[in-house]
Point group: C2
Chain length 348, copies 2
């Protein structure tokens, strides 16, 4: 039998989570040399750190000192400042970027036409893309922009814990099983368990919608309502996540939400840790608007749960379905229309 072509993996993005998952991928390309080329290029948006290029630092020190400090990266992970160079000949593209960058990055890649034959992608990007009464997951955006199949990965994955090799699980949703299995080979380790399921939309939506529930959980914490109320809000939130996904996306499976790491487990992690919970708690306790808290606590980054609550509201209003999702609605009303947070459970 002729030797099979080895897959070339490229990581598009190099933030906290991107660097952590790039570390695992590069460890595994070395481990599975029958499947993957060992070298893994990672596109790094070039910036200066103490007068040096971040890519230079990463390639010399094997550490992303800015976004994943203190973690040794494999020597076969190579920081690349030019997007097109990073993606050249790649057959497996890992997208781990803030969602607002996806369309532009995809356009550059499409025009450059540098990826390898039969390339396919995976999206680690959270969020949903809403325009009027139309909603999309980013795996679909990538599929359409690049004309290549795109899986989705999401799970209870605090990046630093994964990078430090603490036990974690994640979920990959695939369209074609053979692609799901290749992604599993690339990411699975004894300390990072990867389950693959045929539910791209479910996995993607878990990652987007959980942030809205985490805002509600943070309101509970801010109000001092205790563990019973917070657990109730999480339970109702998980149901709304499931019902919303099954109502507006075809092929979504109920089990994804209640059995997989992307579902119930990530919801738990996000509602007890995470910036959405933190800022929502501060919102109630300090009375400061979210814009101010984003500046003070997140260096100006938009809080994903609050933004997603707004997008969901616009979408549900356009569809005439606001009433079907009382928890999503009350999070929107509190965060965008000055409803008293103490009304959180009044209509659940």
């Amino acid at each position: 039998m002729a030797p099979r072509e080895l897959h070339r993996v490229a990581i598009i993005g190099s933030g906290n989570w991107g660097s952590a998952i790039a570390k695992i991928a590069a460890e595994n390309t070395a481990r599975h040399s029958d499947l993957f080329q060992q070298e893994v290029p990672m596109w790094v948006y070039e910036e200066q750190v103490n007068g040096e290029n971040l890519t230079t630092i990463i390639n010399e020190k094997h550490e992303n000192v800015k976004y994943l400090p203190g973690v040794q990266l494999p020597v076969n992970l190579k920081a690349v400042p030019a997007l097109i160079d990073a993606a050249r000949d790649a057959t497996m593209l890992v997208f781990c970027l803030p969602h607002q960058f996806i369309p532009n990055i995809c356009r550059q890649l499409r025009e450059a036409k540098v990826t390898g034959a039969g390339a396919f992608a995976i999206s680690l990007t959270k969020g949903v893309d809403v325009t009027g009464d139309r909603i999309k997951i980013f795996a679909d955006v990538i599929e359409e922009e690049l004309g290549m199949p795109c899986c989705a990965l999401s799970g209870a994955n605090i990046a630093n814990e994964v990078a430090l090799n603490k036990f974690s699980e994640t979920t990959i949703g695939y369209g074609t099983r053979s692609e799901g299995e290749l992604w599993q080979k690339l990411f699975h380790t004894p300390q990072f368990h990867v389950q693959i399921i045929e539910d791209r939309a479910g996995v993607s939506l878990c990652g987007a919608l959980k942030n809205v529930v985490a805002v509600a959980a943070g309101f509970c914490d801010g109000l001092g309502w205790g563990n019973n109320a917070k657990a109730a809000v999480m339970r109702i939130g998980l149901l709304e996540m499931k019902n919303f996904s099954m109502e507006f996306f075809s092929g979504v499976k109920a089990e994804t939400f209640v059995q997989e790491s992307a579902g119930v487990a990530d919801l738990i992690t996000t509602c007890f840790g995470g910036r959405n919970r933190l800022c929502a708690e501060a919102f109630v306790k300090t009375g400061k608007p979210f814009e101010q808290l984003e500046t003070e606590l997140l260096g100006g980054q938009k809080l994903q749960g609050v933004a997603t609550a707004d997008e969901l509201h616009q979408f549900l209003k356009a569809r005439g379905r606001v009433g079907g999702y009382p928890l999503f609605h009350v999070v929107y009303k509190i965060s965008h229309e000055n409803l008293d947070p103490a009304k959180l459970t009044a209509h659940l």
Copy 2:
């Protein structure tokens, strides 16, 4: 139409949770005077507090100063030191006792024959009753001992939060819907939401099995493994709870575990608060045996999760099914057979 006979409610038990639920019940008998006699007797195991009878204190101060201090109880809730007097003419009996007392209390009630015609019961008792290869829920034990139908109530219900009127939810599993609806009338308030479902066994088993998962969650905390690992253990635990219940009890519904307060919500509350988590964390951090921690942290009370892990192990061994439940098994091995806690996830 002739006026319907009013139901007479009796609370059997007066600990922390018993007193909290008695408060709600007595508030609701006053609210629904078309259904219930207003007076609610509560059986209190008599003891001395500062030289006075606890029943006297409760009836004079309307406060259970020993088990629910600081909470005003309704004046129509009446502490009664004699079990038989408390149960006399009762048609709705609420059992809220540690499980080891259930058989003896039921025997006394059966022999006294004082309950009203058509009486039925509800069990708030946690745990399972295992003998060899036979397993029972306490709602069934009560049904058999007393010859009356028995529902089950369980949920994300930290007693003090419920008593302080903080928002909470709970689940009642019924055999006959009309009974479930009467219990709902007795317990539902705007701040304590009661869902009723046709799944007595599922509700009961959630309350028992979650404690085993909470022990595993506490091990994670003790090991410092972080949020990803803890969420993974909880996810796997929830699946084993569901699978175990559906394998060994007929009529159990999968949704009970993943949609109801008794399921996922109570699991969350128990794995983040609760004595099982606390003692399991201390077990790892201090290396002290559980017997010693029970003495030091629980005043000698048995830790329910550790005891249940042992009972499940005996039962699963008798059935030849130990291998089907790796998380339950590893909790047993760590807590009863000195397995290194760091092996927690080795076989999941």
